[in-house]
């Protein structure tokens, strides 16, 4: 199925348009990559540090409940910006992503991280103080989510270095 998706994208006119833009708009690739990194930085500053607060590792002056309420609205638009700034490279080089096991790792880590983050943030929104009532479960989920966000960042970089991991394939 991934082969089919890769082929469809590779033969599409959209890909030709995206490649034309990436090659002809001055500075577009590093601009998009920078926007992607800033979006990830905002995600880590909001979601990541909220998880670290739940784990009592940072931002001790603010309650986890306050942080979760404040940053939940940020989640959607930062993810949107990260997606839009990254999708051009996926369309331009579909095989590099759809046929790359490290990209699969990135997606897997992301799904775990975002699922747990949304669960925790939405529960806190519906039941303020819920994090305290189930403290250790919340901390456990926060720890897993934090590690998954770190996994997203690592896998994101290793997409370009897949040969080090799967060198004999």
């Amino acid at each position: 199925m991934l082969d089919d998706i890769t082929r469809v994208i590779a033969q599409s006119e959209v890909r030709e348009g995206v490649i034309w833009l990436l090659m002809n708009v001055p500075g577009l690739p590093p601009i998009l990559q920078s926007v992607h990194i800033v979006a990830v930085a905002v995600l880590i500053g909001t979601v990541g540090l909220t998880h670290l607060r739940i784990l009592r590792l940072a931002i001790w002056d603010q309650s986890p409940s306050t942080l979760m309420h404040r940053y939940q609205p940020w989640l959607g638009w930062t993810l949107g910006v990260a997606f839009l700034s990254g999708i051009a490279f996926v369309i331009a080089r579909p095989a590099r992503y759809f046929l790359n096991p490290v990209a699969g790792w990135k997606l897997g880590f992301f799904l775990v991280a975002i699922f747990l983050t949304v669960i925790l943030f939405r529960r806190e929104r519906k039941h303020p103080g819920a994090w305290r009532e189930t403290l250790w479960a919340t901390r456990g989920l926060s720890l897993i989510s934090t590690l998954a966000w770190v996994g997203v960042i690592f896998a994101g970089r290793w997409i370009a270095y897949v040969d080090y991991l799967y060198w004999d394939e």
Partner: protein, 152 residues
């Protein structure tokens, strides 16, 4: 200086980082600490500029994020040095890298400006410093990405 870069690039550590899996590993760590550093700084700057979390006391709010920023800054610099020594002459000659270093120095001087204005309770100067901080750090990220797009 060229001789020093050549010597540095020929050390065993430089070879190990530049020619093995250590390069992507160190680079991944660098990205992790940089996004943590910049994420914390952005949120502190936005609070100083009065754009968010106005229900939180300014000093304690900023302190929390500055702690994170300092914690991430040291390993970000160390991993950055690790990447640099893998190809020192190439980076030193790279105009985007030179601009990045200048921006980081300016960001450092700006921290001094912030603390000085905070001490004197000069809110306008604090806001000016926060605005400059946003410009310096976002530009440093852009310059950092541009390094890889310039062959050197």
């Amino acid at each position: 200086m060229a001789g020093f870069w050549e010597w540095l690039g020929n050390t065993e550590l430089a070879f190990q980082i530049g020619a093995t899996w250590l390069f992507p590993f160190v680079e991944s760590l660098h990205v992790l600490f940089v996004v943590t550093l910049v994420g914390a700084i952005l949120l502190a700057d936005l609070r100083v500029l009065g754009r968010m979390a106005l229900d939180e006391p300014l000093a304690s709010y900023v302190r929390g994020y500055v702690h994170v920023a300092w914690f991430a800054f040291v390993p970000a610099v160390l991993t950055g040095l690790g990447l640099f020594i893998s190809r020192p002459a190439g980076y030193a000659d790279n105009i985007a890298f030179q601009i990045k270093i200048i921006l980081l120095v300016l960001a450092g001087l700006n921290v001094w400006l912030y603390y000085r204005s905070e001490k004197q309770q000069a809110l306008i100067a604090q806001k000016l410093s926060a605005g400059l901080s946003l410009i310096f750090w976002l530009s440093a990220i852009f310059a950092g990405r541009w390094v890889g797009h310039i062959s050197g």
